[in-house]
């Protein structure tokens, strides 16, 4: 039993007489100071509960299951109630992110179309042709077929 009295081996020493001199007032001042409640001793009472049996309660199990199921049902209901809203929010984020992406791509497409138009500008093409020392073909070297869209298209292997 590891009480403090046992630990400090005070059980071997004589008890302080009631009304006697205290450890500070006595002649032997080298004595250890007593611990609080040093004079209180604890005893262990061994109780054997091995033969005690809990009274069977057949309804308790059912109640527990019911309570659990009810909890699950309530949670499920809550989830069911809140899930559409949550999914709606998630979808909202996604839709608007996609819309922003769509707008960005449309803008990018417009910028590219503009850039293409600028690159195909006749003035720029003429400038490039001049730098490359290109000239208009001699009119005598240009053969006009009767129609560029029908027979001539076939002759020139134009598919459209």
């Amino acid at each position: 039993m590891a009480t403090r009295a046992m630990f400090f081996k005070r059980a071997d020493q004589p008890a302080v007489p009631v009304g006697g001199e205290t450890w500070t007032s006595g002649p032997d001042s080298s004595k250890l100071r007593p611990l609080p409640s040093e004079d209180v001793y604890f005893f262990i009472k061994k109780i054997d509960n091995s033969r005690v049996a809990r009274e069977a309660d057949p309804a308790a199990r059912r109640r527990a299951w019911q309570a659990g199921l009810k909890g699950v049902a309530v949670a499920g209901l809550l989830i069911l109630l809140l899930m559409p809203r949550a999914l709606d929010m998630v979808a909202g984020y996604r839709i608007h992110a996609l819309a922003a992406e769509h707008d960005r791509l449309v803008t990018q497409k417009a910028v590219i179309a503009l850039e293409e138009a600028q690159l195909e500008s006749p003035a720029r093409l003429q400038q490039l042709a001049g730098q490359l020392r290109l000239v208009n073909p001699d009119p005598r070297h240009v053969v006009m077929l009767n129609s560029a869209k029908t027979d001539s298209a076939l002759a020139m292997n134009v598919t459209r």
Partner: protein
């Protein structure tokens, strides 16, 4: 025992009751808590509902104006002539700027704005904010400041890379014209708010603009959108497809500009029209402007005038086609009918009128047109009579607008008979006392080219809203105004103008062509007199048998005849246009001889019924043609079209020379040669003296 048993039972009861009491207390506390929450909710959602709703709406709900993208303008082949692209605009909150002088320096450097001006605006905003707080009033407009709007993408990228958290970017639509000045008078311009203020942009502003929408957006605390409600759907503007052909427009503008610059014309117009449908393939106006740039001090004051549509002028001899058509339809005159041109003099109601050039005796009516005899035209006009002449002037569409969808179209001027003077019949017969636009001249010429049907000019082919169906522009109903045989006769007579008359410079290689030149003195409204400057015009078509294209060219304020200044423009534009339209050639490809004597093109109509001014009879010196092909300049170099046509380089003679001598000579002259064989040059193609096209080689055969 009993006592003990009762006591035990009471203990069990007490033990059982004890947790129930605690539960009751718990329930009571929970209830009170719930009541407190409920009361708080009532206070929040019922009592202070309005206040918190406003706060929540302000924080979470944002209503945006969704701008409808402005429609694009395309040419007939689908090339973009105008389109809107979102551009970044930069703004700041001066209150949030940590160091204003530094911020002004950074922004000035990144965006090219005036630093001091920006700093002054920022300081002013901050000062105003401080004053408002001192006076305990709500500061107005101090938390927002535009720095620069619609900046270039490169500027935006550079500024974003600085990661300045006090700089805000907003998207605003910006109108771009990728071809710059090309067709700028037709397409027009928009102002800063993207409202059309010129050309089609102005006339079709409502259709191009579309309808803006509104969207209410629910955002989270970070400003990310969660949900949105479209209260009004944005309706994009319609895309407009024009009948303009970008390539033909480019050629028309290039040739017109070259001619105007070479002949120092104040302005000029070219209209290229398909005569059967009335589709305008090109409409050029000089001077030009860049619609991407706002009007500046360096821009010519008249640069934004749409000359072919808005500016009417006295057409001069071009108008003789109306006189002669009226004669064919209303009198017994035929092309071969002799007309007495009085050797260049006529007495019209007591007023003696002289021809501007040497007079003609009695010549066929076809030659009156070919040589543009004013006396002959007056004689024919007298035979037609005032009423018939005026009737045919109206039939050709003069005196009223054509209905082309461009703003500020001029109807020209055709006076009623009651306002005609005694000699008006003579003036109108040769194109004075009336005024017309270049577009009206092209429309009138189309009547002859398409067999006698007046077709209204058509500029818009279709409209289409993005994702919507195509709305084809209905063609206006044609109206027959001439007998087909009259139109065919006129075509033949107009071909004579090109073959043997004043319009020789308009002869095409590989195609027949017909037309009429015109040179009309310009009336000075200040001095109330005719000046010595002229409107030189040419109106023609090609090929003669089945005209595919009608072209009207006018140069205003020149000192030369229309046959000299305008006919070469017609020739170059027609050649390119017919090639682009893949029109089959109807005559052998023989380059017509150049015009050598300017008097051959003298068609001056006698505006003030006096002798022609002296300065009309001299041609300016031809421009020096560089002997060696110069390297291409950075900017497009404009070469006078008429230079090539009339004064272009010709093939030198290499015959009898050695290969070395030929090469040296060709290098010196800048004429590329193709050497075939060795020895002495025996033959060459093209032969000596033949005009050379730019870059064309001379093939020399050595034996």
């Amino acid at each position: 025992m009993l006592w003990w048993g009762r006591r035990a039972k009471d203990d069990r009861v007490r033990e059982r009751a004890h947790p129930t009491t605690r539960l009751v207390w718990l329930v009571v506390i929970a209830f009170l808590w719930a009541v407190a929450v409920f009361l708080r909710l009532v206070q929040l959602q019922v009592v202070s509902h309005k206040t918190y709703k406003e706060l929540a709406d302000h924080q979470q709900n944002h209503t945006f104006r969704v701008d409808a993208p402005r429609g694009c303008v395309f040419d007939r082949e689908g090339h973009v002539l105008a389109m809107s692209v979102p551009a970044d605009s930069v703004s700041i909150d001066p209150m949030l700027v940590p160091d204003r002088p530094l911020a002004a320096s950074i922004l000035a450097r990144a965006l090219g704005v005036d630093r001091d001006d920006l700093l002054a605006r920022m300081d002013s905003a901050v000062e105003e904010h401080r004053r408002a707080l001192e006076q305990k009033r709500k500061p107005k407009g101090t938390g927002f400041l535009w720095v620069k709007r619609k900046i270039a993408p490169a500027e935006a990228e550079a500024l974003r890379s600085l990661k300045l958290d006090w700089v805000e970017f907003q998207k605003e639509p910006h109108r771009y014209y990728p071809d710059g000045p090309l067709a700028s008078h037709v397409v027009g311009t928009v102002d800063f708010q993207e409202r059309g203020n010129l050309g089609l942009e102005q006339r079709l502003d409502q259709e191009l603009n579309g309808r803006p929408g509104r969207v209410s957006m629910l955002t989270d605390v970070l400003g990310r959108p969660i949900d949105s409600t479209v209260s009004a759907e944005a309706e994009a503007g319609k895309n407009i497809t024009l009948s303009i052909d970008e390539s033909i427009q480019f050629v028309a503008e290039r040739e017109l500009r070259a001619a105007c610059e070479f002949y120092h014309a104040a302005s000029g117009s070219t209209v290229v029209m398909e005569p059967h449908t009335g589709e305008i393939l090109a409409m050029a106006s000089y001077p030009v402007f860049d619609p991407n740039q706002p009007p500046g001090p360096e821009e010519a004051s008249s640069a934004r005038f749409d000359y072919p549509v808005s500016v009417a002028f006295e057409p001069g001899s071009v108008f003789k086609i109306v006189t002669l058509t009226a004669a064919l339809e209303t009198t017994s005159l035929r092309p071969e009918t002799p007309i007495n041109c009085g050797n260049g003099t006529i007495n019209l109601f007591g007023r003696v009128i002289h021809e501007s050039h040497h007079g003609w005796g009695t010549i066929p009516m076809a030659d009156v047109l070919a040589h543009s005899s004013n006396i002959g035209a007056i004689q024919i006009g007298l035979k037609v009579g005032e009423k018939n002449l005026l009737d045919y002037v109206h039939k050709f569409g003069f005196g009223r607008t054509t209905g082309i969808p461009l703003p500020a179209e001029s109807s020209g001027m055709v006076r009623d008979l009651k306002h005609w003077g005694k000699t008006s019949i003579g003036s109108v017969a040769m194109g004075h006392e009336v005024s017309a636009t270049a577009l009206q001249l092209a429309q009138a010429c189309s009547v002859i080219a398409n067999g006698g049907v007046l077709v209204k000019p058509r500029l818009i082919l279709k409209r289409q809203r993005p994702g919507g169906k195509v709305e084809s522009e209905p063609a206006p109903a044609p109206q027959r105004v001439l007998k087909p045989e009259t139109a065919i006769t006129m075509r033949q007579m107009m071909e004579g103008v090109v073959l043997r008359g004043t319009g020789k410079a308009a002869r095409l290689a590989g195609y027949t062509s017909g037309g009429k030149t015109g040179s009309a003195q310009i009336f000075d409204l200040t001095t109330k007199h005719y000046t010595h400057l002229y409107n030189g015009s040419f109106v023609g078509f090609a090929p003669v048998t089945n005209p595919a294209v009608v072209i009207a060219v006018t140069l205003n304020g020149v000192k030369m005849f229309g046959g000299v200044v305008a006919a070469p423009v017609f020739k170059n534009v027609a050649t390119e246009t017919l090639r682009l339209l893949a029109v089959p050639k109807d005559i052998p490809e023989i380059e017509p001889p150049p015009l050598t004597d300017p008097q051959e093109a003298n068609d001056l109509s006698i505006a003030d019924m006096s002798a022609p001014p002296e300065d009309l009879v001299q041609l300016p010196a031809p421009p020096a043609v560089s002997p060696t092909p110069a390297p291409a300049p950075a900017a497009p170099q404009v070469v006078s079209p008429s230079v090539v046509a009339v004064f272009g380089p010709s093939a030198p003679s290499f015959e009898g020379k050695t290969v070395r001598a030929v090469i040296e000579q060709s290098l010196a002259m800048g004429v590329p040669v193709e050497v075939v064989g060795s020895g002495i040059a025996r033959q060459q193609a093209p032969p000596p003296g033949s005009p050379l096209n730019p870059g064309e080689k001379v093939r020399v055969l050595f034996q």
